[in-house]
Amino acid sequence: MKSLAELQAIRDKARAQIGLRSEENVEFRVQVGMATCGIAAGARPVLSAFVEEVAKRDLHNVMVTQTGCIGICQYEPVVEVVSADGSKVTYVKMTPEKAVRVVNDHLVNGNVVTEFTIGAGSN
């Protein structure tokens, strides 16, 4: 079974790559709406998928956080991707599969997945 002692090995490894991660290095903030409306609509597996994929790809420039109700409950699960320059993309009706795509296309390659964004449905 995993033990706390393993954290020291992780720390030592991380020390070797110091400076890799700090607030200034954060290029994207991924905010997943985790209020009652979001959770009931399935936001947890979406948040899990983001956390999992970002960790798996070892993305140090991405910060995944949770936020409250954004106010568009009918579109939950809602995910906002905020770039370092302050611009924001809002993804709606998200699923874990869509989350993986957003990580790969948007966060890694810089291409917004337009078809999942809030404006896409009205076209």
């Binding site: 490894k13 020390r15 985790m34 009652t36 947890r44 960790a55 956080t65």
Partner: protein
């Protein structure tokens, strides 16, 4: 909600909105007494006595985007449905403590679900806050304190670093499986 763990996530979001620095989550199961107790306690901004009275009312909410707040009323209903109880204590400026007691053998009992997964997400997505998670079932007990993790990791490595996040996910998963006796994921 399909899992009580999701209610815990929802209630913890209230603590986060209340700017709590430390959030305690306890899930204790007394097999002989047939009781499961969930406690969420924070040192956030707290509430006035009037607010405490009204949070169990679904038509009360502090948010401005809508006129309903379902989180706490839902949790209370789910506990009372099993013949259990619900209570909330809060003091302005000190924090809030919320407790729900369930009767697991009751037909309307909602399964606890993936509580380890929820705690992992809460810690990883709120690296600036501290969490103390206690899970107890019968004689088995597991405690996780993020302050202890922080001490071991040192200041340079945050709790949401990819390596730490993956380690924490597996660590919680293994220990929760151990507590459940390998019957539940």
């Amino acid at each position: 909600m399909r899992e009580l763990a999701l209610n815990v996530m929802d209630i913890a979001q209230n603590s986060i909105s209340a700017k709590a620095a430390l959030i305690r989550i306890s899930v204790e199961e007394d097999l002989e007494a047939d009781r499961l107790r969930i406690l969420v306690e924070d040192n956030g901004c707290g509430m006035t006595p009037e607010q405490v009275q009204s949070v169990v009312d679904p038509f009360y909410t502090t948010r401005t985007t809508r006129k309903v707040g379902m989180g706490i009323p839902l949790f209370k209903m789910e506990a009372e449905m099993t013949g259990g109880s619900f209570s909330i204590r809060s003091e302005k400026g000190k924090g809030t403590s919320l407790q729900a007691e369930f009767v697991p053998s009751h037909v309307d009992m909602i399964p606890l679900g993936d509580i380890g997964g929820v705690v992992h997400l809460l810690i990883t997505c709120n690296p600036d806050r501290d969490f103390v998670f206690l899970r107890k079932k019968g004689q088995r007990e597991f405690v996780l304190d993020t302050r202890e993790l922080r001490n071991l990791l040192g200041e340079e490595t945050p709790l949401n670093a990819p390596e730490v996040s993956q380690w924490l996910r597996d660590y919680l998963k293994e220990h929760m499986e151990d507590i459940e006796g390998g019957n539940e994921i």
